[in-house]
């Protein structure tokens, strides 16, 4: 118990340090998620629109989840050495699969009748995509982004061993910061992950079209919280998962 009391004392004494490291942590995470979004969103959404490549899109999440984050960073250390590039590569590799899979599933699973109706109204393929498929798929797409974001914030902690900076710097450096500092940073990063999860949860709710929001409350669909693309993809029988 004394260790935790000391940890809070550490927080009070070193607020500047913790805030600086948090900013560093969020910058690194934000950059990795941004790169992953640029890579994964267009591919996932477009494949979903075409209803092609389900094997690749769905298995991306399964393989991606199987990749141990520390192992990716370690392999990166062997090949790329210590530094920003290695950390970014590792974080992007881990962030892409959930975004890709959920973007694909979101668009792919839009009710075919709805799409037919839109086509019947004379919409062009691009209009069908932007006005029908995209809004309807947004909640699921955001589930993927949320999963990735939480995952990246967690993994960015490990990135400290590869010179990535952030709150992990304090956790892996007990020699300098003592146990109090390590525990303070651990509490800090745990709260940060929960906050990021909650923030994306609110964002997800905000982007869900009003009609779907009611439908989601009425139907018995598993709540989209805890983001894990994992239960979503592997838990529910998705056609063609294996």
């Amino acid at each position: 118990m004394k260790d935790f009391v000391n940890a809070f004392k550490f927080m009070g004494d070193n607020l500047d340090l913790l805030v600086n490291k948090t900013v560093e942590h969020l910058e690194l995470s934000g950059a990795a998620i941004a790169v992953a979004l640029v890579i994964a969103l267009p591919i996932g959404l477009w494949l979903g629109h075409l209803h092609r490549g389900s094997f690749v899109a769905i298995n991306a999440a399964n393989v991606g989840r199987a990749l141990p984050s520390l192992a990716i960073i370690a392999i990166g250390l062997g090949i790329l050495g210590i530094g920003f590039v290695n950390v970014m590569v590792a974080l992007v590799v881990l962030a892409v699969p959930p975004i890709l899979t959920n973007a694909y599933l979101g668009v792919d699973q839009v009710d075919r009748d709805t799409v037919s109706a839109a086509e019947g109204m004379g919409m062009r393929p691009w209009q069908v995509f932007t006005r029908v498929e995209l809004p309807i798929s947004l909640p699921l797409v955001f589930t993927g982004i949320r999963t990735s974001a939480v995952y990246v914030v967690a993994t960015a902690t490990l990135a400290a061993i590869a010179g990535g900076g952030g709150l992990g710097d304090i956790i892996v450096n007990q020699a300098s910061y003592k146990l109090a500092g390590v525990i303070a940073a651990a509490i800090w990063v745990a709260v940060l992950a929960l906050l990021v999860d909650a923030a994306f949860g609110l964002l997800q709710r905000a982007v869900t079209p009003r009609g779907l929001r009611r439908a989601a409350e009425v139907s018995d669909a598993p709540p989209p919280d805890e983001g894990a693309a994992a239960p979503l993809v592997a838990g529910r029988p998705v056609p063609g998962i294996e």
Partner: protein, 245 residues
């Protein structure tokens, strides 16, 4: 004295502490040295791999027991789902490195710390998958069971649980792979598992050790995933017969 020292330096083959008699590849720290890897398979990688498998098995088995019990309880008493989901969800979200460190003051630098953290990451996945599996049992199957005169307990174990097996194993798959991934981080707490060589390599930035341990962890995860898929097909032959997938 100095002469003999310099003499021995010249005649002896370069000895790098921990790496033994080093060949060129190791001395220049090239990307990957097969020789060093195979020399140290027995004393570094094999024990680490076995420890890793042991850590994973214990965590998945314990997590499985807790989650199944809680899921069946929540299936029978609906109110239990929400609090347990929130509890497991919070645990699942906490970064592994942080959770390990937060447990150290409570349970010390022990295997117990590692297992408590690893088990806590399996709960959400296994609980949710089991509960979803139980709830998706077709009402017709339940009606038939009732019609045959099965008691509630018989119905649970002979009808509902078997029909939920695919969902449960899907959960075990995810949980196992997740635990294999997180068990590498356990090396921050105890000197076990494939994380241990990774941390050892950090002291010297020795590329071969990084890559070998990292690659073994990735291979172990992929292999475990593939084995569980095979197991799932084996125990649920009816899923294949349906031809739905």
């Amino acid at each position: 004295m100095i002469a003999s020292l310099s003499h021995s330096l010249i005649t002896a083959q370069t000895v790098i502490p921990k790496f033994g008699h080093a060949d060129d590849c190791v001395r220049q720290n090239r990307t990957f040295c097969w020789g060093w890897f195979s020399d140290h398979w027995d004393d570094v990688f094999q024990p680490a791999l076995l420890d890793h498998i042991k850590l994973t098995l214990i965590a998945v088995v314990v997590g499985f027991a807790i989650s199944i019990a809680c899921a069946i309880f929540a299936y029978e008493r609906g109110w239990f789902e929400r609090p347990f989901s929130v509890f497991a969800g919070v645990l699942y979200t906490i970064p592994s490195l942080a959770l390990f460190q937060l447990l150290v003051p409570v349970t010390g630098l022990t295997e117990l710390t590692v297992e408590v953290a690893l088990v806590s990451y399996t709960l959400l996945i296994l609980f949710r998958n089991t509960l979803t599996g139980l709830r998706e049992v077709p009402e017709d199957a339940r009606d038939a069971a009732r019609g045959m005169g099965l008691t509630a307990r018989q119905m649970l174990w002979r009808v509902e649980v078997p029909l939920a097996v695919p969902a449960i194993i899907a959960g075990v798959r995810v949980a196992t792979v997740t635990v294999i991934s997180l068990a590498t981080v356990a090396a921050f707490v105890v000197d076990e598992g494939l994380g241990a060589p990774i941390f050892a390599a950090l002291q010297s930035s020795f590329n071969t050790e990084f890559i070998a341990a990292g690659a073994l962890a990735v291979l172990l995860a992929l292999l475990a995933d593939a084995l569980l898929v095979g197991f799932q097909r084996l125990v649920t032959p009816w899923a294949r017969a349906g031809g739905t997938r």
